[in-house]
């Protein structure tokens, strides 16, 4: 359904853009300050415990989280603006609805008389023209279709871009400004294998692996802010990167496979008409009522 849009939305987006830029400027100015302070402390205390400057928390950890939240919100609005009206494919829509209907049949099969259930099951899984029956040749079409259909390819590329570019930019920015010092201490001990991943800006090999650089804080935020976004932006938001990544590997909505799965499920169902049981239960209900 198209929504009534007006310029207010674009103004909101511009406002967020300026806020982000302001923060970037402010934080990068102070990041260097924090970097210098922690280096001094580290040289002094090579022993077990490193005392980290509170300036790091104020000027590195918190601004980084705030910037990521703002960038996420900005991406959400940009993706809403850029989303072209998708013309749904006729076959896809119909298959989606068929699946819902078949699933309802499976779930509530015991509520309808056995004859009608059997008639419906035949209707769905009939060999020649059943709704759920997919001839073998058509099954691998989905992938080829994805690549050949220009609209779908453009859509996927747009979605990918909106996800990859901000991630890359933020990562590069973090690396440039916030590297070379210890940012935080992870509260549980880690093995040496994590050193390469979490401590890559710190060139001292004797520092405990629990002391990590800001890169790990960036990754922590990347995965952790998903919950926050679903509260602020509502359920459907474009910042759900991890979910989208999982979806991409499964090549998204593959109707033919789910149709086959539904058909198998339907074949398995044993019909057990619950109506006679209901008669007895109704008696009990009435007996209680009358008493």
């Amino acid at each position: 359904m198209d929504k009534f849009r007006d310029c207010g939305d674009i103004k909101k987006d511009l406002r967020y853009l300026y806020t982000v830029q302001f923060w970037v400027f402010l934080v990068s100015r102070n990041a260097n300050r924090g970097e210098r302070k922690s280096r001094e402390r580290e040289r002094g205390a090579m022993a077990e415990d490193l005392v980290l400057d509170t300036a790091i928390r104020d000027w590195v950890l918190i601004p980084l989280s705030v910037v990521m939240v703002l960038i996420g919100v900005l991406r959400y609005f940009v993706s809403k603006l850029m989303r072209s009206a998708q013309i749904p494919d006729a076959k896809l829509v119909k298959e989606g609805q068929v699946i819902v209907r078949a699933r309802n049949l499976r779930a509530a099969a015991n509520f309808i008389p056995p004859k009608s259930f059997r008639a419906r099951r035949l209707y769905y899984s009939n060999e020649e023209n059943g709704l759920l029956y997919v001839p073998k040749g058509q099954a691998p079409n989905a992938q080829a279709q994805m690549f050949s259909d220009p609209n779908m390819a453009m859509d996927m590329m747009k979605k990918n871009l909106s996800m990859i570019i901000p991630q890359t930019l933020t990562f590069a920015w973090v690396n440039f400004f916030f590297s070379g010092f210890v940012a935080a201490k992870i509260p549980f001990p880690l093995t040496q294998r994590f050193r390469a991943m979490l401590q890559n800006g710190i060139d001292l090999s004797t520092v405990d692996v629990s002391y990590v650089s800001s890169r790990s804080w960036y990754f922590l935020n990347l995965f952790g802010l998903r919950g926050l976004f679903s509260i602020i932006l509502g359920e459907e938001n474009a910042t759900d990167d991890t979910q989208r990544m999982m979806q991409m590997t499964g090549f998204g909505f593959d109707p033919t496979k789910s149709l086959g799965a539904e058909k198998d499920g339907l074949d398995i169902v044993q019909h057990d008409w619950t109506m006679p049981k209901f008669e007895r239960r109704a008696e009990a209900v009435l007996r209680k009522l009358v008493r």
């Binding site: 359904m1 198209d2 009534f4 007006d6 207010g8 013309i87 749904p88 006729a90 829509v93 119909k94 609805q97 068929v98 819902v100 209907r101 309802n104 049949l105 779930a107 509530a108 099969a109 509520f111 309808i112 008389p113 009608s116 109506m275 006679p276 209901f278 008669e279 007895r280 239960r281 109704a282 008696e283 209900v285 009435l286 007996r287 209680k288 009522l289 009358v290």
Partner: protein, 302 residues
């Protein structure tokens, strides 16, 4: 389906607004959310808000949704001038909107200009063949013109693609019943039961249809579905109680010659009768003798 608490809230707000106690905007929002049909009240209070420029500016962007709601309510109450004004305002604000186009189509329908409305809807469907609301408006158009067969055709074609839409199945079932095509209506009600198995209304309607078709098997099935309705409503549905009594007596009549294989049917009927008598005693004691005599005539034949 509207839950009991929502219904209570709606009635409370309605009473409050009718007595000029404010809260008109909440009432209108609730009506819109629950999709209930209260055209006269919506028209009265909505127009009051729209005509008062202070309240109107307080709404901000919601003003346009209110305008749409008032336009539809005006068409329902046949005050077409109000509707035309609202739609003109909306069209000025959103010149290219399909939603406003839909409202204009509905206005043509309300005026009785069927051909123009049909043309408008077909052009919308050409642009977007998957607009569910426009499809349903076409069915409503055919039904209003009295072309029930066209309505059935359109609805069947719609359900071919969008088969998970239970409102459409219900509409189709009612149309079939009006044409006395009971077997098809039974099929539709089965679809409804499949999609919402815990809704007692569907069970009740299905039982009614089965009872009307007749035949021993159908009567037994109908009795079972009346029983399930009683189960789902906790015995409060009087129609189901009556249905049980009628079914039992009809089954008894049909199977008079054969051996009585029914397991414990007399109990159910007796219990239903007792429940009905208790209910009538509580609510309408004057009609109790009527009830007893009617039920006695049923029991005699069983």
């Amino acid at each position: 389906m509207v839950t009991k608490s929502e219904e209570d809230q709606l009635n409370r707000l309605e009473a409050q607004v009718d007595n000029a106690g404010g809260g008109a905007w909440e009432y209108l929002c609730l009506v819109r959310k629950l999709k209930v049909r209260r055209p006269d009240k919506v028209l009265k209070h909505g127009l009051a808000i729209l005509n008062d420029s202070k309240k109107r500016s307080a709404l901000g962007t919601e003003e346009w949704t209110l305008c749409e709601q008032v336009a539809v309510a005006a068409m329902d109450c046949q005050s077409l001038d109000v509707a035309k004004d609202c739609i003109k305002v909306l069209r000025k604000r959103f010149p290219d909107s399909k939603r406003v186009g839909r409202l204009e189509g509905m206005l043509l329908e309300a005026k009785g200009l069927w051909a123009e409305a049909e043309k408008a809807y077909s052009s919308f469907l050409e642009d977007n063949p998957f607009d569910q609301v426009i499809h349903k408006r076409r069915v409503a158009l055919a039904k209003a013109q009295g072309n029930i067969t066209t309505a059935i055709e359109c609805l069947n074609k719609y359900l071919d693609t969008f088969m998970a839409d239970h409102d459409a199945w219900r509409e189709l079932a009612e149309i079939y019943i009006s044409l006395q095509m009971y077997k098809q209506a039974a099929f539709c009600y089965e679809e409804l039961i499949l999609s919402q198995p815990t809704n007692p209304l569907h069970h009740l309607a299905y039982a009614d249809v089965l009872y009307t078709i007749g035949g021993l098997e159908n009567l037994q099935a109908a009795k079972k579905y009346y029983a399930s309705t009683i189960n789902l409503t906790g015995g409060k549905n009087r129609r189901a109680l009556f249905g049980v009594c009628l079914c039992t007596s009809a089954i008894g009549q049909l199977s008079k010659g054969r051996n009585k294989e029914d397991k414990d049917s007399p109990e159910l009927q007796l219990l239903a009768v007792a429940a009905l008598e208790k209910d009538y005693k509580q609510r309408a004691p004057g009609k109790l003798p009527l009830l007893t005599s009617a039920l006695k005539s049923l029991r005699v034949s069983s």
